[in-house]
Structures are given as C-alpha cells and as structure tokens.
Amino acid sequence: MMNEQRLLTIKNLQIEGWQEEKWKPVVKGIDLHLNRGEVLGLIGESGAGKSTIGLAAMGYARKGCRISGGSINFHGKELREASERELENIRGVKIAYVAQSAAASFNPSHQLMTQFAEIPLEHGLMTQAEARQKAVNLYTRLFLPDPEGIGFRYPHQVSGGQLQRAMVAMAMACDPDIIVFDEPTTALDVTTQIEVLSAIKDVVRQSNCAAIYITHDLAVVAQLADRIMVLQNGLEVEEGDARSMLHAPKQEYTARLLAVRRVIKEARPPVEEEPLMRVEHITAAYKNGPSILHDVSFNVHRGRTVAVVGESGSGKTSVARVITGFLPQSEGMIYFDGIEMSPLLKHRDKNRLRKWQMIFQMPDVAINPRHKVKEIIGRPISFYYGLGKKQVGKRVGELLDMIELDTGYLDRYPSELSGGEKQRICIARALAASPELIICDEITSALDQLVAEEILKLLQRLQDELNMSYLFITHDLATVKAIADDVVVMYQGRVVEQGPRQTVFTPPHHEYTELLLSSVPEMDPDWLDNLLKKREQKEMNK
C-alpha cells in the first residue's frame, strides 16, 4: 500500500569515504523516511555523517565519497538508479538544499536575483518577471531589508544573516517538496539566529513542504522538528517524535546531549580583596580604523572566572588582544598584581609575561604541527625556568597527568590528535608557565558539545586545585552559565553590564542583556513561538 503522504524512503544507506588510500565506511546503514509537510531533525556531533546523509537524500555524494549501498526512494523513483539528467531535473526543483555557509555557496560574480531565477527559468516554470516577483515575495516573507532592491546586490555586499535567508529563498524558488537545511544557523550570532529560525519555520509551515534539518544543536532543532533522529558515527542512536524524545530520551547518548546545556555553576559570593587584574577605561582602535573599544573597565579576582560575553562586533576578542599586548590601547591602563602592564607586547618583561597565558579558539592552528607534544608543553618550562632536560621531562609528565592524558602522547604530532586532545595540550602549554591568569578566547566554540563539556569540567577542576583565574571570552551563554562567577556583557565595543553572574542574569538588567539571554534556544519546542509572541507584545505595547 503506497502511502500518498510518503515522500522519501531511505533504506540501509551506506556511504564510504576515501581516506588514506582506502574506502572507509562513513554511514553504516541508515533507515530514514519523510512524509509530506514533516520536519525531520538530524542531530549528531561532527563525524556522525548527518551532512553526508542530507546530501544523499538528493542522490549526491561529495568528492571523495560514494554511496555504496542501500536504496534512496524519492516519490517512487530510485535515486541511485536515476540518470544524470533525471537527477538534474529533481535537484533544485523537487528537492532543494540550503548550505551551511551562504557566503561560500553563492557565486561571487552574479547578483542574488540572477541566482534565484536560474533554476525556475531553466526548467521553464516561470517567466523572468514572475521569477522576480516571487523572489521579492519570498524576501519579504523572510524579513529581508529592502526586499525590492536586495536581489540586485552581489553576495559580498550583503551580511551573513541576510545571505542565509536569501539562500533559503533561492531554495524555495520552485516550491520544492523537500528542503534539506544543512546547519543553516550555526555560523550566525544568537540574535540573528532567532530571526532566521523563525523565518524558516514560518515559510516551511506555510508552504507545507517537508524538511530535513541538520544541526548539532538540539535546542535549535527542538523548535522546528516534528521528529528527531540522533546519529553517532554513521549509525542511528535513536529516532522518534520530537516532544517525547526531549522529555524522555531512550538512549544515554541522547540524554547526555540534552544535559549539556543544563549545567549551571554554583554561585559564589563576591570577593572584597584587591583584584588580580584591573582593566581601566580602555579605548582602542586598529591602525587608521574606527574605535573598537570605548572606555572598557572590569576586574578579575583571584581564583574566579570572569566571562566576557558578546556577539560578533562586540569587541570581546579585541579586549583579549589589548590585554595580551597585540593591540596597544590609545587610552586607559591595565594593572596586573597592582603593576602597570605596558601597552606593547615587546616592552613587557619575560617574567611578568609568564603570569598570564592564553588559549585560542582553533586548536588546529594554535599548536605548531611540526612540534611533538613534549616540545609544545616543554618549551614554556625551559623558556621561563631554564631547567634541564630531565626536570623538564618530569614536569611535562605531571602536566599530562593534569590534563588527563597518558605519557603515550609525548612523542605524538598534532596531526595524530583529536580536537579535544589538541585543546587539552593547549591547556597544558598554558599551565606549564604556572600562570596566575589564563585568557580563554572562545576555546570551546570549535569543539563538539560533549567534548567541550569535558574541557570545561577540566578547567573548573584546575581552578579549584590551583586557584587559577580565568578570563573567558565567549558568545555562548550556556557556557557562561556553566563556568562563570562574574560576567561582563559587551555590545559594540562598550561594556553594557557587569557583575556577579546571578545579578547580571536576573532582571532587572540592561535591554541588550535581556535580548541576549532570551535569544538562547532552550530545549522546549514551544520556546521559539513563545519568544516571538512575547516580542510582538512588547512591540505593540511600546
């Protein structure tokens, strides 16, 4: 009995990837189905194979991948046996794709409108004028500014969030039956993410098309999906109705993914003693550029974590650059242990430099690929303390212990390590100098959520044992809740609010803080709708 509602049936899908001169399995047998008007969320960490499956739903495999087994049935048509021509007729018309990076996926040489109209015109589905009208229509429904004119811009002239929505519009040009969304909001700020999410939700509901929504963020998918499938290492972990899974997951892995966002650090009473670091009235600008920091002041106390939160353009990374001496301030001063820190890095004394260390966002580029682990961790020790080889070796062993890695790692190169392991090496490198303050610049943003959680736990343990202070720069409020004692909220180069975490996060607080807090997706499927209703109310009350 052929179900009229059934659009896509995937059975026992197997996909292999070309690695180290061999074909290795990436997707190991997945069953998936999609009915008309349904939204299916594909959740998993990196390497789960979710993107690969999303592409396979269109009968497509990336270069270096091949679909080696199973069946992909779209509306009665077996995609694995379809000809090139048939696939070209289905893609873009019946099944459309929204990529993760809109900036990379638009052709830089053509206007947005041209790229929108390309497929409808090619298949003779509408005239030039009709296509233009439809584009403006969709741009309006997706809340893009200047819907009449934006189509005539080039991709690089449009902002990230707007470009992402333009890509959604482009996918809807031919009223497809299925849209595959591949991490469309991952690269966006939280506040922009809200707009794009609600726009997507609206437009999908109204057109009654089905969707596969791929993401690593459970809270995001909870807002849109009717059903959720959890993936790990190319295999299904769990699949079922969205609400029931969020309330009562059947598998431990799913439960762990859910729990990640719920950790909250115990509140600690504020301290009265002299701060370890005082940042006072810092104003800074890049050479010949506009000011990026205005009158920024805050303190970091011993043994406590200060989180500097903001979105892109808030200046939070610039704060780190000023503190570390890469960007000299034009006004203001920073004091460490009561002593002035000279604005320029090269004027600072080596022995003072030892006291504050930094960990970076991307572990891949933060350690030298040509150095072994023992050199990476050992160098600060020999550089600052001038110890002999044996003593350095002993200390390196102790540090490896502290970061929960065994001595087998000593002779490995970074290319042999995972993202989480590399970040731990970075932590050990920072610890090797025995600093008093560690500046963490978005150190968990590039890691999978479960791995990030472990790193944060490690950092907290180290803080408890060594009375270490952290300056934690991040855009992710869930992280802030998990590790911060004090919070500094930044917006457009200024400190908008600061204080102990509980105080800052409890109203009454600054409008922007409220916006930031409310924009963080929660596991509740109704959260988005409620938020939008609340915001609409506020607008009407004004």
């Binding site: 592409l55 269109m58 497509y60 990336r62 270069k63 090139e84 696939l87 070209e88 007729n89 289905i90 893609r91 873009g92 018309v93 459309a96 794709y97 990529a99 990076s101 990379a104 996926s105 638009f106 052709n107 830089p108 040489s109 053509h110 390309e118 497929i119 090619e122 811009r153 080039y154 690089h156 002239q157 482009m170």
Partner: protein, 318 residues
C-alpha cells in the same frame, strides 16, 4: 567603476615609478662603468686621440646627473643618439627591428593563447584522464627545455629532414605575405611551444581551483546542467586569474623572443640587443633595453588592471 579609479591610478603610478627607476639604472649602470668607459669600448690599442674623441662624443666629461637629464631630454625629442659601431642614428636601426619583434611575438601569442585556454579547460574538466596525464607530462618537459633546444629540434625536423622551411629567417623589407609567413613559421612555432606549455599549466590549475569552490557544488545541487556550470558559474570567476596569466606570459614572450631571434638570425630587436651588448655599443643597448623594459612593464600593468577590473568584489564594493 569610479571606485576602481584610485586603485588603477595607484598601479599606473607605480609602473611609471618603476620605469623611471629602470631608466636611471640603465643609464647610470652603463655609463658609470668601473674604469674608463672609452678605454673599455675601444680596447687596449686605442690612441689618445680616439679616446678623447669618443669621450667628447659620449659627453663623458660632464657630470653624471647632467648627462642623465640631457639623455632624457634627447629621448623625449626622439633623438636616441648614434650607434657607436656604425655611426647611424639609433632610431633608424631600431624602428624596423622592433616591428619585426612585435610581429613574431604577436603571431606566437595569437596561436598560443587560444590553444592554452582550450587545452587547459579540457585538462581541468577531465582531470587525471589519459589526455590530461599526457599533456601534463609534455608541458612539464616543454617548460624544462631551453628555447634553443626546442628551436634546434624543430630545425632538425623541418629543415634538415623535410626541408620545408628555412633555418635562417631572412626577413627583408618589402617581402610578400607568403614569403613572410614562410620565414616566420619556425621561430613562431618555437616560441609558441614554450609559452603554450606554461600558459596551459596555469590555466589548468586555475580552472581546477575554481571548480573545487563551494559555489560550484551548490550549482550542482541546484541541478544546473554541466555545460552551464562551466560557462556561467566557473568561467566568470576563472576569467580574472586566466587573463592575468595570459598577459604575464605575454610579457615573458617579449623577452623570450631574444633567444629565438638569435637562433634563427631573425632581424629583430632581441638580436640587435645581443649584438650590441657584445660590441659594447652603449647607445643601442640603452635604447633597446629601455624599449623592452617599457613593453614588459606596460604588459604587467595591463595584467594588474585587468585583474582588478575582473574582480566582482572590487567592481561592486559594499
């Protein structure tokens, strides 16, 4: 387009600065010889009278900067001085020869450019096919060969073996079209082969780079037909870098012409330059050197400007 103007002017300004510096170097370098210029030119056996006469002729008794300024003034009036070896005005000797060199370079360009682009495109589209592999290996060899080797092989085949073309390119003013072509074929072929190889490799690399861009994959996911992907999505973005490569190879062509002219005794500017250098005929060396430099710099400037124009980010700023 107005946004591009300051960028273009800046590049042009730099080109002129370079030209000026080069002219300075040419002049000072040649005239400020270590030791006695006149002695070096006339050799050991020169008499005092001859040396004095030469010094007067070359104005060697005046200070360097005065001589430089008067040299520039002369050039702007079209007076390029007289050759030291035969006393004739340099401008007379150079005019016709420069024309010949341009003819040779131009015909080589006409053949190699379209071929390079087409072959590069084919190889990029059918990467790692047998055609691609054969062409890649042959071009690798071709760019490794010195031009005179290629020239001699061609002479071996077409002159000695098959007696189709002359080995010495006796070009004379007033020759008919067919005769000119007959004389031109081998030198042109030599140049073409070497330039073609380099250009083709770069075109291939550029197109492969463009084809692996995310927006090309996006076009495939939209179901755009293969030939349209190449024409509408890949080519507009590959155009800029390809034009850059082509023009820069043209600049190289202008210089590579020197060896080819010597092998075939082709009456061009390159051969004149080499001859004058051996004879220490300073005015001729200065002028031919300056002309080559001008052409080279001008072509590089054109490549730069075309590159800027073909970049959509620069054409339509935020």
């Amino acid at each position: 387009m107005d946004f591009l103007l300051p960028l273009i002017l800046k590049r042009t300004g730099f080109a002129f600065l370079t030209l000026f510096t080069i002219s300075l170097l040419i002049f000072v370098g040649l005239e400020a010889l270590p030791g006695d210029t006149a002695q070096a030119i006339l050799g050991q056996g020169a008499t005092e009278e001859n040396l004095a006469a030469l010094r007067k002729e070359m104005k060697l008794d005046l200070p360097v900067h005065t001589r430089y300024v008067s040299w520039l003034k002369d050039i702007s009036h079209g007076d390029l001085g007289n050759s030291l070896s035969n006393g004739r005005p340099v401008s007379e000797m150079i005019g016709w020869r420069f024309q010949n060199t341009l003819l040779l370079a131009f015909s080589a360009a006409m053949v190699s450019i379209p071929l390079a682009i087409i072959l590069g495109l084919v190889c990029a589209l059918y990467q790692n096919s047998w055609l691609d592999r054969i062409l890649s290996t042959s071009t690798l060899s071709a760019i490794s060969f010195p031009e005179f080797f290629v020239a001699y092989i061609l002479i071996l085949v077409f002159v000695v073996q098959f007696e189709m073309f002359p080995s010495v390119a006796l070009l004379k003013p007033g020759m008919g079209m067919m005769e000119i072509v007959n004389v031109l074929v081998l030198p042109c072929l030599t140049l073409t082969l070497v330039v073609l190889a380099h250009m083709m490799r770069m075109t291939r690399a550029t197109i492969i780079g463009v084809l692996s861009s995310p927006y090309i994959e996006m076009a495939q996911l939209k179901g755009v037909r293969k030939h349209k992907i190449i024409l509408y999505h890949a080519l507009p973005n590959a155009l800029g870098p390809i034009i850059n490569v082509v023009v820069m190879d043209l600049a190289w062509l202008v210089v590579g012409v020197v060896v080819v002219e010597v092998v075939f005794v082709y009456p061009g500017l390159g051969q004149l330059l080499v001859d004058s250098v051996s004879k220490r005929d300073i005015p001729v060396v200065q002028t031919s050197g300056l002309i080559f430099a001008c052409t080279y710099i001008f072509l590089n400037l054109t490549a730069d400007v075309l590159s800027i124009i073909s970049n959509p980010r620069l054409r339509h700023p935020k």
